[in-house]
Symmetry: none
């Protein structure tokens, strides 16, 4: 059975050592076994959960939502009704995120492809960012 130190976990997932300990303190990952010298030793399952956590964070999910998603992953063995509700809620969140990202992408592509960077003409990046017609969200409130 393979074992990993916290540093190996960090290298394999890209999550910083301090952040791993922070996740543990928040209850997002289980407290792992310890050596006699009280150093953490993780197994393969812990590695997978951490990789999941990392990707979910990169997608912009909050830690509470991630806790829900993790519960969802374990749900099929139990009652699925709450799991489906979480799935629907997260699906809606994902759809909103994708919609916004698609708009961001368009604007950024326009910015990145504007005038030649070194060229004598004026830089459109600033203009584009200031343009009211390109507002991403409806801004009420």
């Amino acid at each position: 059975m393979k074992e990993y130190s916290i540093g190996q976990m960090s290298r394999r997932t890209g999550v910083k050592v301090t952040t791993i300990r922070y996740y543990e303190s928040r209850g997002l990952i289980l407290s792992p076994a310890r050596t006699t010298g009280r150093q953490r030793r993780y197994d393969e399952a812990a590695l997978e959960r951490l990789a999941f956590l990392r990707h979910a964070r990169e997608l912009g999910f909050g830690l509470d939502d991630i806790a829900d998603l993790m519960a969802l992953a374990e749900a099929p063995l139990k009652d699925c009704a709450p799991a489906h509700e979480i799935a629907r809620k997260q699906l809606a969140a994902v759809d909103r995120r994708m919609k916004i990202l698609a708009q961001l992408r368009e604007e950024l592509a326009r910015m990145a492809n504007a005038d030649d960077p070194g060229h004598a003409g004026k830089c459109r990046v600033i203009e584009v960012l200031g343009d009211h017609r390109l507002c991403i969200g409806a801004h009420e409130a």
Copy 2:
């Protein structure tokens, strides 16, 4: 000469009143004129700067990057290559994010729509988001 209260600025740009004051305290926008009762009164130029700030934040720029961009906007003859570089970097990040979100979306949709919640098959959310091949950033360190 049109004048706007902080609340009107907020409504016009979608930036919350408290956040506008925060931006001022961070030096990102100039301290506006005040009424005799010490309430802020903004002009059209301030509105434009705030709109710029809002859009840049939505695109994921940090406040320091935004300060740099604003400085660039005031020296338009200077080379704007760094601004293009920032835009390209953000664009790449957005593309990676969208790709992963699409996969998660598919999995969540499958789970949310499963006719047979109890036997719909193993939940693959963790697998989908745990997949190393989908990593957004290079993770060295």
